[in-house]
Structures are given as C-alpha cells and as structure tokens.
C-alpha cells in the first residue's frame, strides 16, 4: 500500500478553500465595506473576469504549452467589440460574439503557427502578442471607444437573479470546461496530449490538431474575458490586457493545474481567480496602494508553485518502492 499522509490529504481537499475563507474573514473584519452589497456585487464582477483570464491560460497549460498572448488577444477583442458597437453599430449580442470570434481567430493563428513550425509556444506567443497588440495600436491609433451604447453599458451594471451577468457568464464557462475535460473526447485528448504527447500520438490522438484547437479555445476565452472586462469598465481602452500575463498563470497555478501539462482543475482555477480578485479588492478597501497588489499576486504565485513542489516531494517520500522522482502522485482529476 502506498500511504499519503493525512496532512497532504487534508491540504488537497480543504487547503485552498481555507485560505480563501480566512482571507474573507480577515477582510470582513478589517476592511470597511467589504461585506457591503455593492462591494460584493463589484467583487463578483472582478472575480468573473479574473477567473475567465485564468481559464484562458489553463486550457493551454493543460496541453503542456503556454500562451503569453492572452492579454493581447483580450485587448484586441475588447477593442474590436468596442468598434463593432460604436463604429459599426451592430446589436449587442452580435458585438459580443464578434469579440469572442476575434479571440478565437487570433488563437487559431497561434495554434497553426506553433503546430506548423514546431517551435515552443512560449516564444511564438511572445511574438504574436506583440504583433497583435501592435496592429491593434496602429489600426485604432490608440484611441478608446468611450461612447458605447447604453444597453451594452446596462448589461455590465444590471443583476440577473441577484448577481451580475458576468458572474453567470463565468459560471457557464466553468461548467462548459468542466464538462469538456470531465467527459468529452476532445477534452480528454487535450489532457492526454499534455501529459505525454508521444503516447497520445501513438494511441491515435491527432496531437497537432488538438494543440491548434486548444489555442483557438484559449483565444476565444481570452476574447470573452476582454468583452467581460469591457462590460465591467464601460469603455474600450487599448491598454486592456496589458497586465494579464501574471494573473493568468497565477489562477491556475494556485488552483493546482500542473504547469507540466496533463492535469487540470477547473474548480481550482475558479478558486484561484476568486482568491486573487478577493485579495485585490480587500487590499484596495484597506487603502493599500494598488501597486502592492501586483507584489502580492507574484508572491501568491511563487508560494503556490513552491507548495505544490513540496507537496509532490512529500507524496513521493511517503510512497515506498517508487524510484522515479518525475512521477506524479495521482490520476488527473477534474474536481467539482
């Protein structure tokens, strides 16, 4: 039998949630207005955006790659939606779909270039990030769209069943991805590709197509996040997405999605996004200057990866007879 210590089991099950609850408790006690109805509504919207950004990165991490261009795609999609609404005047739903579609298209470009050249996704998406943003700056002349139609603005302010439509969008996205990884061929082929591309390929998984599709999905999610942020702030400004890279990695990493690929936790990423947005909001209410939030996010990310490493080592140590240090402790799981 292999024994995993109780401490590790407890940590796996409740660790992250406990941290979130403790942070809520701390902020509720010390930050005035944290529990106010308005603040909860506003935190909800921030959480929604932050989670979807994390998911956009998570899907690529799950296949063993990374996407540095999530922010660039989010920014381009937000601007494109802004232009559709203000410049063209299309109906709101079409503009939203247009933004998501733009994201998917840019993601597909990433995917195709990565698969065709066989170069690693870091450097390709670092390059395309700058290509996408650069083109957007040139095309828009770095002008914001500030006069978005009122029914679009309203969508960002209204409540459906007591919470913002952004939260519903996030919940639906999480459910969709959970479903994808939990039980669809595509999702499971993505995980197989991420865990061991050679085995996946020899088992008949079309690895290249899977990678390309994953990048398209990541682009669509980044596009969605861009549109959601647009709804939240009410105007399309070209700097949207400029600071997404860090939180996009932090949310899934905190949530236990392995950077080496093959393992994914939609719920973990949700909790990760929740934690990051909560900390951001709480610190603001405590009048901690905004820039400390970045420091905190960086430290949270560092702590998350270090804890995960320590946990892996602890599991290995408690396991007898298994020599390979690279072996991961448990089967890929999608939790809910």
């Amino acid at each position: 039998m292999r024994h995993r210590s109780r401490a590790i089991d407890l940590w796996d099950r409740f660790g992250l949630l406990t941290i979130v609850l403790v942070s809520w408790l701390v902020f509720a006690l010390f930050a005035d207005g944290f529990t106010s109805d308005f603040n909860i509504f506003s935190v909800g919207r921030a959480v929604a955006v932050s989670v979807v950004i994390g998911l956009a990165q998570m899907v690529v991490i799950a296949t063993g790659g990374m996407n540095i261009s999530v922010g660039a795609i989010g920014g381009v999609s937000a601007m494109f939606t802004g232009w559709l609404l203000e410049g063209v005047g299309v109906p709101v739903p079409i503009a939203i779909l247009g933004g998501i579609g733009m994201g998917a298209a840019l993601g597909a470009i990433n995917g195709i270039v990565i698969v065709r050249t066989g170069i690693n996704s870091f450097i390709i998406t670092l390059g395309t990030a700058s290509v996408f943003s650069g083109l957007m700056y040139v095309v828009t002349k770095v002008q914001a769209f500030r006069n978005l139609p009122p029914d679009f603005i309203d969508l960002g302010q209204t409540r459906w069943l007591g919470v913002s439509p952004l939260v519903w969008a996030m919940v639906l996205t999480c459910a969709f991805l959970w479903f994808l990884y939990r039980g669809t061929t595509l999702g499971r082929q993505m995980l197989a590709t991420g865990a061991n591309p050679r085995t996946a390929r020899l088992s008949g998984v079309p690895v290249n197509r899977i990678i390309a599709v994953t990048h398209m999905l990541s682009g669509a999610l980044a596009g969605l996040a861009g549109v959601m942020l647009l709804l939240r702030i009410g105007s399309a400004i070209p700097t949207i997405g400029g600071d997404w890279v860090l939180p996009s990695f932090a949310a899934p990493a905190v949530g236990g999605t392995l950077l080496s690929g093959g393992v994914v936790s939609v719920v973990g990423t949700f909790i990760g996004g929740l934690l990051l947005a909560t900390i951001g909001n709480g610190l603001t209410l405590l009048n901690v200057p905004n820039f400390w939030v970045e420091l905190t996010t960086g430290l949270v990310l560092l702590l998350a990866v270090l804890l995960d490493r320590a946990r892996t080592l602890a599991v290995l140590r408690s396991r007898t007879g298994v020599q390979q240090p690279a072996a991961a402790p448990a089967a890929a799981k999608v939790e809910m």
Partner: protein, 530 residues
C-alpha cells in the same frame, strides 16, 4: 505497492533449465595474475526485478574483456554499477585489491574508470578539443582559458590515438564514430585505466570499426584494460582475449579465455536452454488470406525494402538486435514515421496510413517498447489509458464520453487480462511493470483491432508475469488476432512465433518457419544475423 524482490537464490530462469549448460574450462592462468578490477557477487534489484543476481568479473591491466549476453541479461545494469550511476545492493568492487564504491559517474571517472556510452555525450556546440579537456581546461594566470594549450593537448591525445580529427572542429560536425573517438580521447586524457565501451560498433561503419579496433589495441599496449560490450560475436573473437557471459543477471559459467570457446559454445552460453514453463495450449497457426501485407516498404526512419505477410491468427516474430530497425518498421506501418516507397495492404486492399489514428481506423494497434514514454500516460488513470482509443466511439451527440459506457467497455478487459489494480481510477504510474504492460495492450484490445504490433513486451518484467504475458499473446492469436511480435528475447521468440523474420540494418534478412526446437532455431537465427 511495493513488490517484494525475490530473495537471493530462489528459482530463476537459469535454475529452470532442463539440463545443465556445458561449462567452459576454467582459465587457470587468469586466476594467478593480479586483477586491476575485481567484481564479486554484485547484486542490484529494482522494484519487482532482480536485475543483477550476483555477478563476478576479473579484469587485468592491458586486457580486453568481452561482456556478452542477451538483452535483459544485466549488462547495462552492471555497467551502470561499475560507472557509479547505480549503487549496487550487495557485492564488492575491488580496484587493485582495494574495495571501492563509486558515488557518481564523476567519482568513477576520478578512479580511472571511463565509459563510452551508447548515446553520444558531448556538448555539440563546443570543439572536439574543448570537449576532451572540459573537465580541467588549462588556464593562464588562473582564470583565462589557454586555448592554444587546450588544442595542443587535445590534439596530442587525438594523435596518440592515431585518428585524423582536428581538435578545433565543433563536435556537432563530427560523425558518430568520430564522436566516440573524441570520448575515448577524453577518457585517456584523464589517464583512465579502465575503459568501458558499450556497443560501440552499433551505429558505425565496418571501416570505422577497424579504426576503433586499432585504437583499442594501441590502448591495450599502454596497459589500459578494456571492457567491450557487443552483440557482434565476430568482433568479440577478433578483439578480446577473455569473455564473461551474463544470463538472467548472473554469470553464465566462469569467465573464460576466448580461445577456449568456439562460436557455438558462446551462443549456447548466452541463450541457455528454454525454460520449462507451462505448456501453451495447442493452437492452429495462421490461416486464410493475409491480413497485413508489406510490399517493398522503405521509410524515412530506416526500414529498407521490407516485404512481409501476416495472416489472421498468426504470430509473426521480428527478431534482430538493438538498432536493427524493427521499431522503426512498426512505426512506419502505423504511419508515425514517413513511408517513402512501397505498399501496405490491409485485408488485401492497398491503404495509405497517415498516422496512428488512421492505423486505428484500419484496425492496427502498436504496443511500443518504451512503456513509460510512449505506451502510457503515467499520471492518468487505468481507465483513461485504456479507453483513449475508444473515446471517439463512446461519445454521444454532444461529445460526452459517459462514465458508465466507458466503465462497461474497460472493466471486462481489465478482468480478461487480469490487470491487478486497486481501482480503475488508480494512476498507471503506481502499477507494477507487468500490469502496466497489460494496460498498454488493453487499449488496443478494447478498440477491437485485428492487427497488433507488440514491441518487446517483456523487457523489465519479472519471469512469472512474463509467462502470463506470453500466454496472453498466445491466446489473442488463438482468438484470431494477427500479431507482429518484435523481440530480442530469443526464448520468447522461439516460444511464441509461428514464423521468425530476422532483421538487420533495416532489412529483412530471412523468414524462418519456427519448429520450436530451441537449439536449432537459435543457431539458425543468430547465424543469420552474425
């Protein structure tokens, strides 16, 4: 779960032999000269496998000792113990009479034991000279590397070997044989007294082999002792003066002078006798029209003009040494490696297989040799590893692969193959080697393939599980599967195959009907290769 390594001296394949192997005469002379290196009773176990079960060796200065044995006999484990990569569990290594333990390859190197491994081990961007001197680059005034001296000294070592390599050319522009020579130069530059060469001639030309041999002979006159690992027996006879044969992790007889043995005796020592295990049920050989037919298949990865036919219910063995191009042929059949010319016919129809997914649609599956990196997804569950081939088939309209239908498809297979796992959601990593191999097989059986290519199914698997995997392969053929069995394990091959195709250098040299007479078949097969 930890599998208990079987205690020393329990029944092993060697003990199961029906009659004793003829023992070569003991070399009296050998026992009187002092040994440079003496290995006594070395044992090393891995979870579930006793890789070395008490191996002894003697090596004198200036001697060339051949280390031979079938795949899995323990040669590479022994080399790794000698060079500090593994720590032996038991036994002694005496260097000039002094007991030593090597903590790392570096430590062994410092003690004068150098290895030229099978894979090249140079920094490709650096020059030959710098690679030779890398460990102790000569410096001027303490910090600045003196490249004139680097190249002067490196060139001196290269010249001493009598090879025509310029110390200033980058390692990346050298041929494989030249890289080996550079590694040898590195070893002698550190005054290594013992040089291990692991299959040095596997991927170099006959002409280069002769250059290598003259270098080795020159080193011997300088007192360097050589341990030469090779499958090519003619090289052993040409180069070495003593031979140690390993079989199943032990010495197959005492170390002998090469002149006391002839070729046939050596082969007999290597392969031993077929172990007596449960008789396999009688089975009719392949029948009917060929299911898989290759016509003049040539692939980018090295298969050369291969023609083979495989019928329903038949086990076709593909025997050859490491590097003979068998796995490459298999990967070309399933479209993982590019086919340059020739035809693949499935069920009599010419098909163009574009990749493993396409091969699956044509009913062909491939169980790779390298379970860990190609056969399994270690961190994923048993269920996921088996059902990977049928996700497409199981999914409903919205793409959902339901837990129940998946379980229903996988469970019977786990039962049928007797896969021992705590649950279907256990990570494959935590199963034993034999059960992992069964999982790797199960995914294709679940997909209902008609043709199964199985590559080295029992490497690193203990004797008992090996027998059960043999039965499994046998039963699958009885059920009508066409099986292409790739193996370097002679007893396995002769036990299971209906016919044996022998490969070397990407070509099929011959196709022998197997009469299951071990002595005759093994002589025939090895005769074809060597």
């Amino acid at each position: 779960m930890r599998e208990v390594g079987r205690p020393a001296g329990t029944s092993d394949a060697a003990d199961d032999t029906s009659s004793p192997v003829p023992q070569p005469p003991v070399d009296r002379d050998d026992l009187q000269t002092p040994a440079l290196l003496e290995v006594k009773g070395l044992r090393k176990a891995f979870p579930g496998v006793q890789a070395l079960g008490g191996v002894s060796l003697r090596l004198r200065a200036g001697e060339a000792l051949a280390l031979v044995g079938e795949n899995g006999a323990g040669k590479s484990t022994l080399i790794k113990c000698l060079t500090g990569l593994y720590q032996p569990d038991e036994g002694e290594m005496l260097l000039e009479g002094k007991a030593e333990r090597f903590r790392s390859p570096q430590d062994a190197f410092d003690h004068g034991i150098a290895v030229v491994p099978q894979e090249r081990n140079l920094v490709p961007q650096f020059t030959a000279g710098e690679n030779i001197m890398l460990e102790s680059l000569p410096k001027r005034r303490g910090i600045m590397i003196d490249y004139d001296r680097v190249h002067r000294e490196a060139q001196k070592w290269l010249d001493m070997l009598g090879v025509d390599i310029d110390s200033r050319v980058p390692a990346s522009s050298l041929s494989v044989a030249q890289m080996q020579l550079v590694e040898i130069a590195r070893a002698i530059s550190r005054e290594s007294r013992i040089l291990l060469l692991d299959e040095p001639t596997a991927s170099i030309s006959p002409h280069e082999t002769q250059t290598l041999f003259s270098v080795i002979r020159a080193l011997r006159t300088r007192g360097v002792a050589i341990i030469f690992v090779s499958h090519k027996l003619e090289e052993v006879f040409e180069l070495c003066d003593h031979v140690a044969v390993l079989r199943d992790g032990r010495n197959a007889g005492p170390q002998a002078a090469i002149t006391d043995l002839d070729r046939n005796q050596l082969i007999t020592l290597m392969v031993g006798r077929v172990q007596v295990v449960h008789e396999l049920k009688p089975r009719t050989d392949g029948h009917g029209a060929p299911l898989l037919e290759l016509r003049g298949l040539t692939s980018e990865s090295g298969a050369q003009d291969v023609s083979l036919t495989l019928s329903r219910g038949e086990i076709l063995g593909l025997y050859g040494l490491v590097g003979a191009g068998r796995s490459e042929l298999a990967k070309s059949i399933i479209g993982a490696d590019r086919v340059l010319s020739g035809q693949v016919l499935v069920d009599g129809k010419a098909v163009r297989i574009t990749g493993p997914g396409d091969a699956l649609r044509h009913g062909i599956g491939y169980v790779p040799e390298d379970r860990k990196y190609q056969g399994l997804i270690g961190i994923h569950s048993v269920m996921s590893n088996i059902s990977i081939t049928i996700w497409q088939k199981l999914q409903n309209l919205v793409g959902w692969v339901g837990g129940r239908s998946e379980r229903a498809a996988v469970s019977p297979m786990v039962g049928k193959l007797d896969i021992k796992t705590p649950s279907l959601s256990t990570a494959v990593d935590s199963l034993s080697g034999g059960n992992q191999q069964k999982v790797s097989l199960a995914k294709w059986l679940t997909a209902g393939v008609k043709i199964l290519i199985i590559d080295e199914p029992t490497v690193g698997i203990d004797v008992r599980t090996k027998a059960s995997i043999h039965e499994l392969i046998w039963d699958l053929a009885s059920e009508g599967l066409a099986i292409l069995l790739i193996s370097s394990d002679m007893p396995e091959m002769i036990r299971l195959a209906d016919r044996v195709a022998v490969m070397r250098g990407g070509r099929v040299l011959g196709d022998l009907a197997n009469d299951h007479d071990y002595a005759r078949m093994s002589q025939q097969i090895i005769g074809l290769i060597h």
